[in-house]
Each structure stands twice: as C-alpha cells, then as structure tokens.
Symmetry: C2
Subunit: 203 residues, 2 copies
C-alpha cells in the first residue's frame, strides 16, 4: 500500500470517537493533515489539557476541573432539589432547558446487571449519603426513557422514599412541536395514560 | 453555566473536524472524558505524531513521512503512467480499486479562480517539470466529476498534450450495482454519450 504507519495509527486513533468508522476517520485525518493543521494542533492541546485537568466532581460525579464542580459550588442553587441523570451530557441538556435550579447527581451509566453495572458502579453509596445528610427534599429522576433507565429510576426512587424524601420522574409524552401522526405508539400510550386536566397544565 | 473552560475549549477544538457540529462535539468530548480516556490519550499521541512527522512528498505532494512517499519510492511502479488526483484520499481510493500500478500527482485542490486557486496553488510547475523529465507516457486524469474538476482535467490535459504525452480521463457512467432508475440524468447522459461496442468493454 505504501501508506505511512503514522497515518494508519491516526486512522485507528480517530475511530475511538463515537460514530466514526473507517471512511470518516480517513476523511478526518486527511482534513487535519492537508487542510487544517492549526485546527489539529489546537485539538491536540485541548484534548491533552482536558484529559489532564478534568476529573469527576466528588459531590455529584459531573466532569469538573476542581474537586467540586461549578454547579455544586454555586451557593445560589436550591439545596432541597436533586436531579439524577445518567451522563454529563444530560446535565448540559437539563441546564439548557432553563427549568431547573437545583443540584445534580451523575450516575455515569444505568443499572445493567448483565453488563456488571450495579449500584456501586453508579455511585449509589455516595448518593445515599447525600440523600441522608444534605437537606434534600425532592429527588427528580431524569434517567433515560429506556427499560434500563426506567429500572434505574425506580430503584433510586425507592432509595429516596426510604429516606423519607419525595421522588419525582420527569414527564414523558409527545415532544413539543411533534405531529401526532409521527409519534410512536409507546410514547402516545404514555402521553394518554399521563393526561392531566387542562387547568393543571400550567402548574 | 458552571462548565469548565477546558471542556468548552475541547468542544471548540473538536468542531474543526469535518462534519462535527456543536452537538456532536459535546458527545465526542463526554465520550472521551467519561468513557474512553485511553482512546483520548491515543488520539493525542497519534495526532501529534502525525502533525510532526507527516509532510508532503516532494515528488507527488502525497502525505508522506519521508522526503518521498512510499509509492514514489517503490521501484515496481510503472514510471510511464501518471495519475492526477485532487486529494490524498483520492490516492487511497485509486489504490483500493486495484486497477492502477503507476505513479501519482496530488493537486491538493482544483482550479477555482474565484477562490484564488490557480496553477501555482495546485503545484502545476512541479507537475510540468515531471511531465518533461520523468519519462511519463500517459497522464490519467482522475479529478472529480464536478465542473471545477472537469476544468482542472481539461487544463492539465492540454499541458500534457503540449509535452507530447497521451492524456486520458477516467470513465464516467452508471456505477456498478446501480439501478438505472436511481441514476441521475446527468450521469445517464454521460453514460449514453460514452457508450462503447460490447466487444470493446473488456479492453
């Protein structure tokens, strides 16, 4: 083939990115090497700095540069409210919604006994300690709407209730802007089962 | 927002990759930092090594670790045949076809006067020198089948003919495995215009 080993290694390394296969990794490598070497340098530096400097917040397991992340350290947040999510990306999504001003707990996964992911892997001992000691009143479960996400929410909900706290689950239903005919039947089933009186919608 | 500056810098740096927007860059960053730190380290090292160690072959402008790339250095290649392509990825594609055993010349672009890309940017002085001095007999033009790619092929074809060489263009037509009804009309027009006697197909 006559291709350079460093190029082959770059193809292989780029394939660790999610959604990047053999063709895309080649396109990315050629782009970085023949058209955007400055961008490549910036990527090397930013990724090395992130890997060196970003760890887990010791209170909520969010990605953080310090021992405690910016949200945990923010005194303006509501200490009575804890949102449980699966991943750092979910924290970003909830923040972007603008609907939430409480604290977070990031599971970094969801219960999946067959894959060896149990309560310890999700940091539930740390979560239980916070549920007992941190003055939390409500636990809002924002795990994903999959079978495993639901099981995880149910499990953590029962932990919260055993501590005498309120456990809530974010609502599932028709997405805003969604045409009814394109909504799958499971979602529509949940939307109908969870219907509310019109007056209560705004509450 | 409470997000760390290094994370924001990583999002920004990942967006230099082709086809990666804000959402994908976040997904990639979270994947590397929470699920595949080893992959992230490998990417830092492979990309740094590639940027430091890979330059342009001084004969064909292909990406190469040495002064001259593996194909230019290979004595088993046919010196009489030169394939002109737009990008390093095109060299890979032609090599993978298995139909070609000659040399290459990589333009790293195509003629586009409005974007300031003229003969000098495409290395045509170097190409002309090779056409005169290197014992080349046929120049196979494998630039893309776009308006600019065709113009580039025509321009280089005339250079080759002025040097007394044969200039050929790779065939355009219906892709193998392509259903006629899904082929666009421009391609079908070219396929019909370039039809060949059945006996000649195998030649």
């Amino acid at each position: 083939m006559g291709f350079s080993p460093r190029l082959e290694q770059l193809f292989a390394a780029l394939r660790c990115l999610p959604g990047v296969g053999p063709k895309t990794s080649q396109r990315m490598a050629f782009h970085l090497l023949s058209r955007d070497r400055d961008g490549g340098r910036r990527l090397v530096e930013a990724l090395a700095a992130a890997l060196d400097g970003i760890g887990e917040c010791r209170r909520c397991r969010m990605l953080a540069e310090a021992e405690v992340c910016g949200i945990c350290a923010d005194p303006a947040r509501d200490d009575g409210l804890l949102c449980v999510v699966e991943s750092p990306a979910d924290v970003l999504a909830v923040e972007e919604s603008g609907a939430y001003r409480g604290r977070y707990f990031v599971l970094l996964g969801r219960l999946s006994p067959l894959d060896g992911i149990g309560p310890d892997e999700l940091g539930l001992p740390l979560l239980q300690q916070r549920l007992r000691d941190d003055g939390i009143k409500e636990v809002m479960l924002a795990t994903s709407a999959t079978v495993e996400g639901e099981a995880t929410a149910a499990y953590i909900g029962s932990l919260a209730e055993r501590c005498g706290l309120v456990a809530t689950r974010i609502a599932h239903g028709v997405p805003i802007g969604g045409e009814l005919e394109f909504v799958d039947s499971n979602t529509l089933f949940r939307a109908i089962a969870a219907r509310r009186p019109l007056a209560g919608e705004s509450g």
